[in-house]
């Protein structure tokens, strides 16, 4: 029998109820005759404060509040892949079928369809002893994802029965196990997990393998590891969402969880329309087959926005436990922080900075710490990489959310307003961004892509940093007064900016394999060294600048990845031209 209290006060998404002594902290409740879902966030004697995940318009005092007996949870099982859920895990597809195009309130729908039929292959047999994390069965979830039903973390023992191979309903029990106390435990295909509790792991590992994103500036200059954490801060219009979409499309994770947290409805629609037709560059299968979407658009209730982050990361952990590399995009964590602020304000808590509650950094840390490369309970390796967008008001990176986020992430891709205005995309600043993973992934790149990766990265970054200083001088006095070696740096840097750092999100350049990225970098750095060499022999830069082939250096990214040999040809031709110009110069000087 569920306990019942009574609404006594309503203030936006926060309501107060009395007669709530038997309720538990963080228990899910249904409020009022509309049966709105909510969660208990404070218990005080007979009273409880509830944050309601749906719009509270029309709720009345005196109406009942009924407990559900458990905390906010997500159903985990086959059927997650390719689906879209709202912030508290309701399937938006089913909601559309039942309620029409507008999201209505008080609708109770199972998060995963219990009647869906799945092709199950058992992995154990009666009599086997299983430990937490051990696989019990395989379910072909999509053409890209093999779903492993694992032994839950609190069950260990001997298999008493297990599903035979074949089609089974999602509501089936996969296996029965007798545990150490002699109790019989059933393991269903769909299990619930409280979203605010991290799922257990065996051990954390060093994230030493890169998450390849197909984005040159990231893979080449500011890499992220599988199991790494990154933030993308930027004012409006700098391209946070496009960058997040790019990572969701092209990164070499096996599973992508995309959380649209307080953002535009059309952006979720775009993913829903594009991903089923876009091909994964590695498998050739539709991207949607490895993607789960969580959508809390900016006009959906604010309490559900706070929950959406946890719903998403719980799904990510579930697939990590199966041994997958998962990438989670949260767009935008600022909206989540603002949801915390709004609820905190309604609770009349004393604010810390800019109205944010004092526990903001704790919550941010808890979220990002759920990332990592791990050994799972079952002994396999899995990882979760988190990429969080941050939307600082006025584009000011010193505001609390950006500042606290910086403390807990290791990769910072700062989006630059100036670059965005000149339509240099991705507008990731090569000056303000950083990655702490450079050293950790160095040996992976050396053995899988190019031994020179680390050296080229260092050279490119040094050049760009020197160029930044030179540009400041140019802005003051113009380029003509600079010595040739500095003008050469500015020239090479402009090739780097146009030919390497810029990358269109639409069209053939959208995905750049690491080999092509390194080929461009290689050619540009080689040009620079060659030119430096010629300058030191006394050849003026103005002569070199006249070479026709130089125009092509600005257009290197147009060379298709299948034609990597073109880079060698170009290098050969270019060097020959440079050499011959220098020779002609020396000859003509002698003649004089």
């Amino acid at each position: 029998m569920n306990s019942t209290g009574k609404i006594v006060a309503i203030n936006g998404p926060v309501i107060r109820a009395s007669g709530m002594r038997s309720f538990a902290m963080r228990e899910m409740v249904q409020a009022g005759r509309l049966l709105l879902l909510g969660e208990i966030i404070r218990l005080d004697g007979d009273d409880a404060l509830v944050q309601v995940f749906e719009d509270t318009t029309g709720l009345r005092t005196g109406e009942p509040v009924t407990g559900t007996g458990g905390p906010l949870s997500m159903s985990l099982g086959p059927g997650l892949m390719g689906s879209i859920f709202d912030g508290i895990g309701r399937p938006l597809g089913k909601l559309l079928e039942r309620e029409g195009p507008f999201v209505t309130r008080g609708v109770s729908i199972p998060q995963l369809d219990p009647d869906a039929m799945w092709d199950v292959t058992p992995l154990g047999k009666v009599g086997d002893v299983v430990t937490p994390g051990a696989p019990l069965a395989l379910v072909k979830e999509t053409s890209l994802v093999e779903h492993r039903i694992l032994t839950p973390c609190d069950i260990e023992g001997e298999i008493l029965s297990i599903l035979p191979p074949g089609l089974h309903k999602a509501s089936s029990v996969v296996a029965r196990v007798r545990d150490g106390h002699g109790r019989e435990r059933s393991i269903p295909m769909i299990r619930k997990w409280p979203v605010r509790t991290p799922r257990p792991i065996a051990e954390r590992l060093l994230p030493d393998e890169p998450l390849l994103t197909g984005q040159r500036i990231i893979d080449g200059l500011f890499p992220i590891s599988k199991g790494g954490v990154a933030a993308i801060p930027g004012g409006f219009g700098t391209g946070k969402t496009v960058t997040q979409h790019q990572l969701a499309k092209w990164s070499d994770a096996q599973i992508v969880v995309y959380i649209g947290c307080g953002e535009r409805g059309n952006e979720m629609t775009q993913v829903l329309e594009e991903f089923p037709v876009l091909e994964d560059p590695r498998s050739g299968k539709p991207l949607m087959e490895r993607t789960v979407l969580i959508a809390n658009t900016s006009n959906m209730p604010v309490a559900a926005r706070e929950a959406s982050i946890y719903t998403g990361i719980t799904i990510a952990e579930y697939y990590r436990d199966m041994g997958y590399d998962v990438a989670l995009m949260a767009d935008s964590t600022s909206r989540w922080a603002e949801a915390l602020r709004e609820i905190s304000g309604r609770l009349e808590e004393i604010p810390a900075e800019e109205g944010f509650p004092a526990y903001l950094p704790t919550r941010i840390a808890e979220f990002y710490e759920r990332a990592g490369k791990v050994t799972t309970l079952g002994g396999t390796r899995g990882s979760i990489s988190i990429i969080g967008a941050v939307s600082p008001p006025g584009g000011d990176f010193t505001e609390p959310v950006t500042r606290h986020t910086k403390r807990f992430i290791r990769c910072f891709w700062a989006l630059d307003q100036q670059l965005a205005r000149s339509r240099h995309f991705p507008a990731i600043s090569w000056i303000d961004s950083y990655s702490e993973y450079g050293d950790e992934v160095k040996s992976w790149y050396a053995s899988h892509v190019d031994p020179a990766w680390a050296t080229l990265r260092e050279k490119a970054r040094t050049l760009l940093a020197e160029d930044d200083k030179i540009q400041q001088i140019i802005r003051l006095v113009g380029e003509d007064v600079l010595p040739d070696d500095q003008r050469l740096i500015a020239l090479t840097a402009s090739f780097l900016k146009n030919g390497y750092l810029q990358q269109g999100a639409f069209g053939p350049d959208s995905y750049c394999p690491p080999k092509k990225g390194i080929a461009i970098l290689n050619l540009l750095i080689a040009f620079h060294q060659k030119a430096e060499d010629l300058l030191s022999q006394g050849c003026p830069l103005s002569l070199l600048k006249g070479i026709d082939e130089l125009v092509e250096l600005t257009h290197l990214r147009e060379i298709p990845a299948e034609r990597l040999e073109r880079f060698e040809e170009l290098k050969h031709d270019l060097f020959e031209r440079m050499e011959s110009i220098n020779r002609e110069r020396i000859v003509s000087r002698r003649e004089v």
Partner: protein, 458 residues
């Protein structure tokens, strides 16, 4: 507890009336606050607890006497009647007829709050709207179902631009194209300007106006955009029309919200605005778009005046994070006599990429736009440099850049208030301007495009 009436209130403060211990008051419920002589004002329940119920009176509390004021709870949230006969009508900011005709009859009643659209039900906007304005069509393409605000300042011609967009939009000739206009705290003159221009040339029947003027009650402004958007959704998704919604001035709306929030004693966030300003604005701006199984669409052009022309002010800042781009007007361009004074660099249309190119505008559109942005951005740097070292000291490429910048502003951005340029013409103009620059500078174009559009021209 529908239609319960209470006589006498405990307290009247600012726009609020406080009632003691009402059982069963609904949150957001609509009430009628009446004086003994029978005058009824609409109000809304904004806070309830066991001790008190707080009611916000839309038209203000002037003249109310606590003892004799009666409050009737209607048992429903703010709703409005909707019917095809609304076309051609003018309403107040609270939806009362303002044109001397009777109330809207027949049709349906809907809550003005609006429910969020399920992202699965949306259709991603991809249809180009030709506005006949070069800077918009080529660089900041408007898409049907988009929300694209105009960030303006006092004294800038945002009204003229909004009217030009509304009257020149290619869809306007079509029978199912209508404009819903919400004037939020605007001057009488501005309202008259919109009314006469939008309704001219027989378009009056395709127009619905909601007017809350500068001297109308402030709290009413909270309702005005919601009434307009509820009407727009009805016209678009029930009747299958393409609706353009103009909301002006959103800054007045936000100020009304702030006034209300401060009066309630809420913890303020930036510049005294409530912490929920983002969510509140989103609950308006997100009511744009197209649905998969409906013919109509809602396109929004909110206009906001940036206080002190500051784009980082909370109102433009939060708006920019929600809307699908922004059109920023520049005081500098306006001073130089350029109309429309669109500052293209900070402006953006997020939905542009999917609505242009082969099949909708022209295949060369995307890269042309990218190059124009990049080249014009360089103009700003060169101008700064020229300011220091003088024009004579500039390199040839820099001089070309300056010349390009001037022509771009005078010939491309600048156009007449009634000049309707065809998209092909605007694109050709763009190419003509780019050919003023040396090819080494055209890094956004492919080698192929340089060959086809620049070298051949020369």
């Amino acid at each position: 507890m529908s239609a319960t009436e209470y006589i006498g209130v405990r307290k009247i403060t600012g726009p609020f009336v406080l009632l003691d211990g009402i059982q069963g008051a609904g949150y957001d419920e609509i009430v009628l606050v009446s004086t003994p002589d029978g005058e009824a004002r609409k109000g809304r329940v904004v806070l309830v607890d066991e001790k008190a119920t707080l009611v916000q009176v839309f038209t203000g509390t002037e003249g109310l006497v606590p003892e004799t004021t009666s409050v009737r709870f209607l048992g429903r949230e703010l709703e409005m009647a909707l019917a095809p006969s609304m076309l051609g009508r003018t309403f107040s900011g609270l939806g009362e007829p303002r044109d001397g005709y009777g109330p809207v009859l027949g049709g349906v009643r809907r809550p003005v709050r609006g429910a969020p659209i399920n992202p699965m039900a949306r259709e991603y906007p991809r249809n180009f709207i030709s506005t006949g304005i070069s800077s918009l069509d080529v660089l900041l393409t408007l898409i049907r179902g988009q929300k694209l605000p105009i960030f303006s300042g006092n004294g800038l011609p945002h009204n003229a631009l909004a009217v030009q967009i509304a009257t020149q939009s290619k869809l306007l000739g079509a029978e199912n194209f209508v404009v819903v206009f919400a004037g939020i705290g605007i001057k009488n003159d501005d309202a008259a300007y919109f009314q006469s221009h939008l309704a001219s040339e027989g378009r009056g029947g395709n127009l619905v106006l909601f007017l809350n003027l500068a001297d109308d009650p402030v709290i009413e402004r909270i309702a005005t955009p919601r009434l307009a958007l509820t009407t727009a959704e009805y016209l678009a998704f029930d009747l299958g029309m393409h609706v353009l919604v103009i909301l002006t001035d959103m800054t007045s709306y936000c100020e009304a919200l702030r006034e209300l929030s401060v009066a309630r004693g809420e913890v303020p966030s930036r510049k005294g605005y409530p912490a929920y300003l983002y969510s509140d604005l989103a609950s308006l701006y997100e009511r744009a778009g197209a649905l998969r199984n409906s013919k109509g669409s809602v396109t929004q052009i909110p206009i906001l005046s940036m206080p002190n022309d500051d784009i980082t002010h909370p109102v433009p800042d939060l708006t920019g994070f929600i809307t699908e781009g922004q059109i920023v007007l520049s005081r500098d361009l306006e001073a130089r006599g350029i109309y429309p004074p669109v500052d293209v660099l900070p402006s953006l249309s997020r939905l542009m990429k999917d609505g242009i190119g082969k099949g909708s505008t022209r295949e060369d559109h995307a890269n042309l736009a990218g190059q124009l942005f990049a080249s014009y951005s360089r103009v700003q740097e060169v101008r700064a440099l020229a300011g220091v070292v003088g024009t004579d000291e500039l390199s040839r490429a820099d001089k070309a850049s300056l010349a390009f910048g001037d022509s771009f502003e005078r010939l491309f951005v600048n156009q007449g208030m009634e000049e309707n340029r065809e998209i092909g013409h605007s694109l050709d103009l763009g190419w003509k301007l780019l050919s003023m620059l040396p090819v080494q500078e055209l890094s956004r174009l492919s080698m192929e495009e340089i060959e086809k559009y620049i070298k051949k021209r020369a």
